[in-house]
């Protein structure tokens, strides 16, 4: 294709603009997290002196380290269970014929459009009576119900593309059913399961509403909610820069996942939404 030098320049300029758009706010919070003393209020984008002080403050505070542990633990558990259940469901939806298939998909769609806060506030009351308020389980359960639809959609869209005849072909070639499933289908399905896991992890890691409504102490409060209550090193110091540092810490896993799996994430997002 012949592209003139000028149009090529324009597309590159556009691309650079988009990259800047996406990362400048992130660079700003990173920069703020390295500011110390008067620099915090210097109204400049960059600090005059780069300091690790805020990171030390953040990691010295139980509030943050406990919240980080809660977030990591609950996100991993919720992601694992959710992807496991969603894989079974998506397999059934894409492979088997059973009445109520559309009902399952319909319910999943209804939940994704439902306002989280409309569930969280009744759960607040219910969890108090059941003793689940302010516990890990009390957050993992709502996380499941909210991440399942996403995982089911992404996986069902993915499984639909798998050429299932290959399994029969393998059987014809002498493999047992189990071998055929294990050797042919599982390798084809793994990338989809993986993509669903990443997207589920993002969704759960991002939760704020459940975190803030269903917890009251450090025992289960995840990072996003803890950030909102963060008071800094002492009650009198400004928490701005430590909050920035804490924000950077919780952003790191997301950025790593994005860097490693960008192609899969894009495919998962668009497949699940457009074809689902």
């Amino acid at each position: 294709m012949k592209t003139s030098r000028m149009t090529r320049g324009l597309w590159i300029a556009g691309a650079i603009l988009i990259i800047a758009y996406a990362i400048i706010p992130v660079l700003w919070i990173v920069s703020l997290s390295f500011k110390e003393g008067d620099d915090i209020t210097n109204n400049d984008f960059l600090p005059t002196v780069w300091s690790w002080e805020n990171y030390r403050t953040v990691f010295a505070s139980d509030l943050f380290t406990t919240a980080l542990r809660n977030s990591i633990g609950m996100s991993l558990i919720a992601t694992t269970i959710s992807v496991f259940l969603a894989t079974l469901a998506a397999y059934a939806i894409s492979r088997l014929d059973f009445p109520g298939k559309r009902l399952v998909l319909g319910v999943a769609l209804a939940i994704t459009v439902f306002p989280v806060i409309a569930i969280a506030t009744p759960l607040f009351n219910l969890w108090r009576t059941l003793g689940l308020y302010d516990t890990w389980l009390g957050l993992i359960i709502p996380y499941l119900s909210y991440s399942l639809p996403l995982a089911v959609y992404v996986l069902a869209a993915f499984f639909r593309e798998i050429p299932w005849e290959m399994e029969q072909a393998a059987q014809v070639d002498g493999a047992t059913s189990w071998q055929a499933f294990r050797r042919v289908i599982v390798p084809l399905a793994t990338p989809g399961v993986f993509t669903a896991a990443i997207l589920t992890f993002f969704a759960v890691w991002n939760d704020f509403v459940f975190g803030i409504t269903l917890t009251s102490s450090e025992s289960a409060r995840p990072v996003p909610a803890a950030l909102a209550f963060f008071q800094g090193a002492s009650q009198f110091s400004q928490p701005t820069a430590p909050i920035a540092a804490a924000a950077v810490v919780v952003t790191i896993p997301v950025v790593i996942l994005v860097l490693l799996f960008q192609r899969k994430i894009v495919a998962g997002l668009t497949n699940g939404a457009v074809k689902g």
Binding site: V26, L32, A118, I212, T213, A244, V274
Partner: protein
């Protein structure tokens, strides 16, 4: 697993029954998890919304029927918050559509920096909304931020007035969610056959004409899906408002109202009623979209010669 071993020897009807059972066996747990955790609370909320019930005073729990709803719907504050929520939804979703489309066009055509683009665009999507809200709140802050200095605005207090505070919330939301919109639109763009565009080009269509006559009509479905998802999402806005303004200066949204009534004021009855109203509104928006979407698609089909 038993999935593939069992049905071999049995008759077809048994096989069908087996498939049916297996289907529910596999999909059941996910289905139950979804329904139990969303269905029961919402029914519970409907029930509680009919009581005058305050958590700090559980003994005094009176049945008031639709009283709570009447109280909310006749309160000016509710309508103001409904207005704020609708305004934020309309502004952010339309800005995201335009911006997301521009981004998708560049990503679709980009020959260079393709991977860098896709990676960068996922950063706002993956970042925690609370973190994004803090980043923008601090950027606009007249104490910490660089925005005022950059644009020579002096000490302008963005969070001092309703309109400027809402503007910052909208900026944060747009930044955070445009990537999602643009990825969905990119998927739509990718499905348009190149020949269509080539043909239009050969026929002498300008770039704008190609966008209007070829690209947009061919990605109507992708646009609708993106709009539907984003509108429903924007209408539930909570995190950014909580962090950036905490509902001050008349920036309270409906989700925030539900939160404040139930959690801060422990007015379980009243808060449940707000939750139910919010849920009904979201369902109404969804139904409206599906209606428009359907007629739109059928019209489009009817028009084809």
């Amino acid at each position: 697993m038993s999935t593939v071993e069992a049905p071999r020897r049995v008759r077809l009807t048994d096989r069908a029954r087996h498939e049916r059972n297996l289907g529910w066996l596999l999909a059941g747990p996910a289905f139950i998890a979804m329904v139990a955790v969303t269905g029961y609370p919402i029914l519970n909320a409907v029930w509680l919304s009919m009581f005058d019930y305050r958590l700090t005073d559980p003994g005094d729990r009176d049945f008031v029927g639709l009283g709570n709803y009447a109280m909310i719907l006749t309160d000016g504050l509710f309508w103001q918050q409904f207005g704020v929520t609708s305004l934020v939804t309309v502004i952010t979703v339309s800005a995201e559509l335009v911006l997301g489309f521009a981004l998708a066009m560049v990503m679709h055509r980009a020959l260079y920096l393709r991977t860098a683009l896709r990676t960068a665009i996922l950063v706002p999507y993956g970042i925690i909304t609370v973190v994004s809200a803090y980043a923008w709140a601090y950027a606009f802050s007249n104490t910490y931020g660089f925005v005022n200095d950059l644009f020579g605005l002096g000490d302008f207090d963005w969070f001092g007035g309703t309109w400027s505070a809402l503007a910052t919330v909208c900026v944060a939301e747009i930044w955070k969610t445009t990537p999602f919109m643009s990825l969905l639109l990119l998927a739509g763009l990718a499905q348009i056959p190149d020949d269509y565009l080539e043909a239009a080009k050969v026929d002498g269509a300008t770039a704008w004409q190609r966008v209007k006559r070829v690209i947009l009509p061919n990605m109507k479905a992708a646009i609708m899906v993106a709009l539907l998802f984003r509108t429903l999402d924007a209408f539930r806005i909570f995190d950014s408002v909580f962090i950036m303004t905490a509902g001050a200066q008349g920036t309270e949204t409906l989700s925030f109202l539900a939160y404040r009534q139930t959690i801060s004021r422990v007015m379980i009855g009243l808060g449940s009623a707000v939750s139910v109203i919010l849920a009904i509104l979201v369902v109404l928006i969804a139904v409206m979209f599906v209606k428009v979407f359907k007629t739109d698609l059928s019209q489009q089909r009817g028009e084809r010669r």
